[in-house]
Symmetry: C2
Subunit: 115 residues, 2 copies
Amino acid sequence: MSVDLRAEEALKLWQAVSMGLVHDDKPDLTLRQMTILLTVYLEPPPHTVRGLAARLHVTKPVITRALDTMGRMRLIKRRRDEADRRNVVIQRTLEGSLFLEHVGDLIRLKARELI
Amino acid sequence: MSVDLRAEEALKLWQAVSMGLVHDDKPDLTLRQMTILLTVYLEPPPHTVRGLAARLHVTKPVITRALDTMGRMRLIKRRRDEADRRNVVIQRTLEGSLFLEHVGDLIRLKARELI
DNA sequence: GCTAAATGGAACGGTTGCGTAACGAACGTG
DNA sequence: CACGTTCGTTACGCAACCGTTCCATTTAGC
């Protein structure tokens, strides 16, 4: 990977990708939802409500609600941790993987176009 | 500028920047608001409600409401077009420039860290 | 066992965004 | 100088998100 972004190019990339996401007819994720989703998919598991809340510096209900919404969208799913039944483990789904694959492709496409 | 993003690195960049924006105590912009803001600052003026709505493939009230909110945040301002007083021209502000400068710096920082 | 701590979720009231539909102001054209 | 068109905004009902607070369940420590 080689990255040498200059200020305006960095913003142009962000704009192009954001525009692409807005153009999709899929419902937009909020910034927090997107951050949670990416964290679950990119950082090593296990992911818990408490852990995500700490990672994002937000309160637990924020995570719970985001998981409710993204669960309805099938982007993630919850499972009780059988070892410690107080915990809920957040897991990836096929739909979530496909969605983020799409986002990744969009970023790469727009980055290439900006060269 | 040289960009050669691979799939996971592209997503990691998006995650790191999103996380940085969430960590800021400033109120999060929605994806649509951010897209409007970047478009106003990066694409050649003049910018009108109708033009932005067409550019983003959203309805006019979406733009009006986003401008209301970002106007309250001082990120953009509106001005009547004196040539054709039906039009409203959307203009940049100092605060908006500073905010996007901050976002640009964040993107560049995270991109550098990912090399 | 019994109490204290930890976890995720529910409830509440308030704010903001959404899509649809309607509106007033300004323009252009006959 | 009417009349339709264009522009941005407002109104409405609805859904989602927010922060705070409280709660049920589960675990851990004494």
